[in-house]
């Protein structure tokens, strides 16, 4: 039905807009991705407060609107109306640019994310490389914010962020190498379609053919590194409210502060989506008798996001030197060993990726 409607509208729009049509059409698609994403970010904050509330035997927000559903909107309006205060000796231009740099990469990365077969803004061959490159830019927002605030706490936060995020990018990238090896492609759609084939998929239990099973250690490494990369608890020493107040965000107020928040939650959704696409089969159905579709991807993203919240409510914060040890001395050797295992496995007669 969707295709029929599109087939009706597109030629008319093309005739009306002429040479500007590709630009307008791309903008429309970008809005179609960003607007629901922002809504998801708003309700992820609400869901987080609810879930953690339930886990701690509290009620959580329930005053604004039915069941508290308007709470994120109220929060947004409140932050929007607040004054943005500039510290007296802050580097003003950088102070303003930092929150933008924190949010922009988390949004730009969605350009290559396929939501279903063919539902993708830019179906490029180097999709995985683009994702890794863009997400590695996210650290600039935090570092610049910490430095431009001209505050000791903020600066400590940004130093921690610089070391932690660069370290965990290494293990994330190495974990992705195994995914690339078994998929033989850097294109995200091809990676998902590669997971639809296999012995178990032929028996109708497709979820056993997804990458998470043969790459189980990498799945764990990627998920945990993803939590560290987005600076979520138990790796949130960058914020570390008990030690350095709120780290890089300590001098920010109003909408500038809200942008950091949006960036963090958009980053969480992005990492969950990546985990779903690389390891959990993207939009593929887990069993043969149900059709594939976008809703499977949505369910998988929601599950991984719930895992993020669950972990936050469960574990105490890591100490900084232990975070570094985990990244460099545990994850990097595990990923390197598993790359070797997968390489030998693929070359042996027992290979399952032919």
């Amino acid at each position: 039905m969707m295709d029929a409607v599109l087939a009706m509208i597109l030629p008319a729009a093309q005739a009306l807009l002429g040479p500007l049509f590709p630009l307008v059409w791309a903008l429309v698609k970008i809005v179609l991705i960003i607007a629901p994403l922002m809504l998801c970010v708003a309700y992820l904050t609400f869901w987080e407060r609810k879930v953690i509330g339930w886990m701690q035997v509290r009620i959580g927000p329930n005053r604004v609107g039915p069941w508290g559903l308007l709470q994120p909107i109220a929060d947004g309006i409140k932050l929007f109306l607040k004054e943005i205060i500039f510290p007296t000796v802050a580097d003003k231009p950088l102070f303003v640019i930092a929150p933008i740099l924190a949010l922009a990469p988390a949004l730009a990365a969605w350009a290559v994310v396929p939501f279903s077969q063919g539902w993708v803004l830019a179906d490029i061959d180097a999709g995985v490389l683009y994702l890794v490159a863009i997400t590695s830019m996210g650290v600039y927002g935090i570092i610049i914010a910490g430095w431009a605030s001209n505050s000791k706490y903020a600066f400590l936060g940004s130093m921690r962020a610089a070391a932690q995020m660069v370290s965990y990018e290494v293990s994330m990238g190495l974990a992705l190498i195994t995914v690339l090896m078994v998929s033989g492609s850097l294109n995200l759609t091809t990676i998902v379609n590669g997971q639809a084939k296999g012995l178990f998929a032929d028996f109708g239990v497709g979820f056993l053919s997804w990458n998470w099973l043969p790459l189980l250690p990498m799945f764990g490494v990627y998920l945990i590194s993803g939590i560290a990369e987005t600076n979520r608890a138990p790796f949130d020493v960058v914020e570390g409210e008990s030690e350095i107040v709120a780290g890089h965000m300590v001098e920010y107020s109003g909408m500038a502060f809200a942008l950091f928040f949006l960036g963090e939650y958009a980053g969480m959704i992005l990492v969950s989506t990546m985990t779903s696409i690389f390891f959990l089969g993207g939009w593929l159905s887990p069993v043969g008798f149900l059709p594939d579709g976008f809703y499977w991807l949505a369910i998988k993203i929601a599950t991984v996001l719930f895992l993020f919240l669950w972990i936050r409510a469960t574990f105490p914060r890591f100490r900084y030197d232990q975070i570094m040890r985990l990244g460099w001395k545990v994850f990097v050797p595990i990923t390197l060993a598993w790359i070797l295992v997968i390489g030998v496995w693929m070359m042996s007669p027992l290979t399952i990726w032919k």
Binding site: L129, A133, M137, I143, A162, V166, R325
Partner: protein
């Protein structure tokens, strides 16, 4: 003008502007950030040349990792600008000569049409070819040995840098996290089996030798 040309000029203008600001910015942190901007625009120009692997690798390696550490160092150092600017004029002749040499070499390549560079055989690349795949194939087959040797040299560099800066200090109280993780409950807590305490019964009048708490 073609749309692609417009994009090229935008990237090129920002690139040159940012590169100039790298050497003229007074604040070293600003200079590093302008260098990041310059890298980003260079990546954009490479993307226009359809060298998408090189462009993304530039962003990934330089913007995403190297410049972050650069920024880290520059922010940590309290750079004294006055001292940095000392001796500017005495170094100018040497620096200027090196700059001219580099500019001349680039002119040789860029002004290729004057020197007949276009007579060299061009690369025939199919329109649909993925240059990531092509590069990988070349790197791991034809140039496998140079590639491996380069990576070993880099590894030696990493280990050398670590060894040069690694020093054991006796006066810190830092504990190895591995030792801390290995700790078992029994190393820290000793469980003592004892009878639970209870309130003493009302002070007995007669038998003072009876054991307490029974």
């Amino acid at each position: 003008m073609e749309f692609k040309a417009v994009i090229f000029y935008v990237f090129a203008t920002v690139l040159i502007g940012a590169a100039l600001r790298v050497i003229t910015a007074r604040n070293p942190v600003h200079a590093v950030l302008f260098l990041v901007l310059a890298f980003f625009n260079a990546a954009g120009i490479w993307m226009l040349l359809q060298a998408e692997f090189l462009a993304i690798a530039l962003v990934m390696v330089y913007v995403g990792a190297v410049m972050v550490l650069f920024l880290f160092v520059v922010m940590m150092l309290d750079v004294n600008l006055e001292r940095l600017r000392q001796g500017f004029w005495s170094y100018l002749p040497l620096g200027g000569m090196l700059g001219l040499l580099m500019a001349g070499e680039m002119a040789l390549v860029l002004g290729g049409s004057y020197f007949g560079v276009e007579n060299f055989p061009g690369q025939d690349v199919a329109a649909e070819a993925s240059n990531t795949k092509d590069l990988a194939r070349l790197l791991f087959t034809k140039y496998a040995w140079p590639f491996e040797i380069a990576s070993v040299i880099l590894l030696v560099g990493i280990i050398g840098a670590v060894m040069l800066t690694l020093r054991k200090r006796g006066d810190t109280k830092a504990v190895n996290p591995l030792d801390q993780i290995k700790v078992k409950r029994n190393d820290r807590v000793r469980m003592v089996s004892m009878h639970s305490e209870s309130d003493a019964p009302a002070a007995p009048q007669t038998d003072l030798t009876a054991p307490k708490g029974e």
